[in-house]
């Protein structure tokens, strides 16, 4: 079984749950931007939750199947077409050899996940099939898929009845504005009280520079720094620090103007100060934000972050139970 790529879409990559363990060498964990969507897509086709699938940004690819199987498309809401006939997303769909998969226009979200029974079986690299294009790791020769590629597909272990779906209320969609919860910290003390308040008061918009490495935001007021003599080795700009590690989800603000939230393909460190970190529960949501969408950052404390994390776990468990027919 293989998936033939007829048209690649805008940027379609093989992703699983990533390759932890190499961040100290500058190789990020990577993997699906929207983890819950990837897990759900895999469950819908009978795969392990962490099997490799395709992640497509904004525009769906066109694919042809070389054997019968089951597919599911999750993440953003998008019309799914099999041989031109429209099918629902977030649903197990039977496909036959020779059939073609294509897509309409995305109606919400930014990324879709296309899982196929058996999982995409490109060679793993450092324990993962996730494509990390900057380091040319994983995926198809370390790059996004291209027209003419034939993606190998593994053997399916478990069948799911076609038509099985994740109910609408269990899917997570970005709101308007989307609220991203932030635990302030790291170099938060470097900006004035007014700047701290302003960061949370202002409405921000996703900038066009938004990708797997990080999402940039525009539109809020510039941050004002507390005066200091720059520490030796940091560099002269008040937003410079002695190059340090960057947490996933951390918010750096070069020059104090446009916040950048690092995502799954994060750079592992650098010399810009950070004002806090988007909590783990809201990382998936960032992957579904399109440029120009309004966003507000909302402060939480550690208890709030852990409660949100538990809530996400419960939501995922509900999907697992639903699809297990419990």
């Amino acid at each position: 079984m293989a998936l033939k790529v007829l048209k690649p879409g805008l940027l379609t990559t093989v992703q699983d749950l990533g390759r932890p363990g190499y961040f100290h060498l500058g190789i990020p964990m990577g993997g699906a931007m929207d983890r819950m969507a990837l897990r759900a897509a895999n469950l819908l086709v009978g795969n392990d939750e962490g099997a490799a699938a395709l992640e497509a940004v904004f525009v769906g690819p066109e694919l042809e199947f070389t054997a019968d199987g089951t597919i599911a498309v999750t993440g953003g809401e998008i019309p799914v077409k099999i041989d031109g006939e429209e099918q629902p997303c977030w649903t197990a769909l039977a496909v036959k050899a020779g059939q073609k998969l294509s897509f309409g226009f995305l109606t919400s979200g930014a990324r879709i996940y296309i899982a196929i029974s058996g999982g995409i079986d490109t060679p793993p690299h450092l324990g993962s099939r996730s494509t990390y294009a900057i380091g040319a790791l994983g995926g198809v020769e370390g790059r996004a898929v291209a027209a003419g590629d034939e993606l190998p597909v593994g053997t399916s272990e478990k069948a799911v009845a076609p038509g099985t779906s994740v109910p609408e209320e269990m899917r997570r969609k970005p709101g308007t504005p989307t609220e991203l919860r932030v635990l302030p910290g790291l170099y938060w003390h470097r900006i004035t009280d007014a700047a701290q308040n302003g960061f949370f008061e202002d409405e921000w918009k996703v900038a066009p520079e938004a990708d797997r490495m990080g999402y940039r935001f525009k539109g809020g007021r510039p941050l004002e720094f507390i005066d200091r003599e720059q520490p030796f080795g940091a560099g002269s700009d008040p937003s410079n620090i002695v190059d340090s590690c960057y947490p996933y989800g951390s918010i750096q603000v070069p020059g104090g103007t446009e916040p950048i939230v690092l995502h799954r393909d994060a750079v592992s460190g650098g010399g810009y100060f950070m004002i806090g970190t988007v909590i783990s529960a809201d990382m998936d949501l960032i992957g579904q934000l399109q440029p120009h969408m309004p966003v507000r950052f909302v402060p939480v404390d550690m208890d709030g972050a852990l409660a949100a994390r538990a809530e996400r776990r419960t939501a995922m468990d509900r999907i697992r139970k639903e699809l297990a027919g419990e």
């Binding site: 560099g235 620090i241 989800g249 460190g269 010399g271 909590i279």
Partner: protein, 291 residues
């Protein structure tokens, strides 16, 4: 030095050993991260040392954030007394300074630079009080450097020059980061040199390029067959200035699989270094090139 702990969301603890760069801060950070690794704390998933700080990634479903924080603090006091000595290697890295490729790139991004009418090398020379770029280049490669961090992108080393503070070179980063940097550019920002392991965005000033790959995901380069990343924290580097002819020769050797970087096993002891910097560096050079 005052250690500062901060949570990076619910999955990271960020620890700043010192605000400013020093080898003392690096060694303290290294000692604590080694102690964390040796303690094999359940729930810790990534241990990332940096120049004067470090970061621990953990699973809060396995270990409570506050419990891990307390554990790290207890390891910090134990690490204070750790020996500041490592067994490591010194490696010669050939550098073609003022090469045509970084020159082309830096001209393309002049509007993002402090000195739109000059070059990165001329600017760095001037603000560090050198008459000419050539003098600055000599100051860049005369003494060995210490890899104090690996990161940013795949296997990129940050290097700190093994000289006292008064002799350190400092330059700011670009006003706005470039969207392009040639692969294997030797860069500079703050007090750090770096080698861009892959092509991509970057904010460091650009001084030259090395013909020696330091990251190879295909692991075809003969000295990267065991692991795709060349550098690790604690490595010592000697820049060796080369011209175009030698650059081309080394590129061909790398391609043919016959290039082997010159290197030697050495010990580095921070106390001996601080007591006699020039003497320590002389010994490092002797280890690399023979007495």
């Amino acid at each position: 030095m005052k250690t500062r702990y901060s949570f990076g969301g619910d999955e990271h603890i960020f620890v700043e050993v010192d605000e400013e760069m020093s080898l003392d801060a690096f060694f303290k950070s290294l000692s604590i991260t080694n102690a964390v690794r040796d303690s094999a704390i359940e729930g810790v998933t990534e241990i990332c040392p940096a120049n004067a700080s470090f970061q621990i990634k953990y699973d809060p479903d396995v270990i409570a954030p506050d419990a891990l924080l307390e554990k790290l603090k207890s390891l910090e006091s134990a690490a204070e007394n750790a020996e500041k000595r490592i067994g490591t290697r010194i490696v010669e890295i050939p550098v073609y300074y003022n090469d045509p490729w970084t020159h082309e790139t830096l001209m393309r991004f002049r509007d993002r630079h402090q000195d739109p009418d000059g070059t990165d090398l001329d600017y760095a020379a001037r603000i560090n009080g050198f008459e000419t770029a050539e003098d600055f280049i000599v100051a860049h490669h005369s003494n060995p450097w210490f890899v104090s961090m690996v990161g940013f992108v795949s296997g990129l080393p940050f290097l700190y020059q093994l000289v006292e503070r008064e002799r350190q070179l400092q330059v700011p980063k670009y006003l706005r980061p470039r969207t392009d940097t040639p692969k294997l550019t030797v860069g500079y920002g703050g007090c750090f040199s770096c080698i861009y392991s892959v092509r991509g965005a970057g904010g460091y000033q650009m001084f030259g390029i090395t013909p020696m790959p330091i990251y190879d995901p295909t692991q075809e380069v003969n000295y990267l067959k065991d692991f795709m990343v060349f550098f690790k924290p604690g490595d010592i580097v000697k820049w060796n200035p080369i011209d175009r002819e030698e650059y081309d020769r080394i590129c061909a050797e790398v391609e043919a699989g016959t290039f082997t970087p010159r290197m030697a096993e050495v010990e580095f002891d921070l106390e001996s270094f601080n007591a006699d910097i020039d003497g320590t560096n002389r010994k490092l050079m002797e280890a690399l090139y023979g007495a």
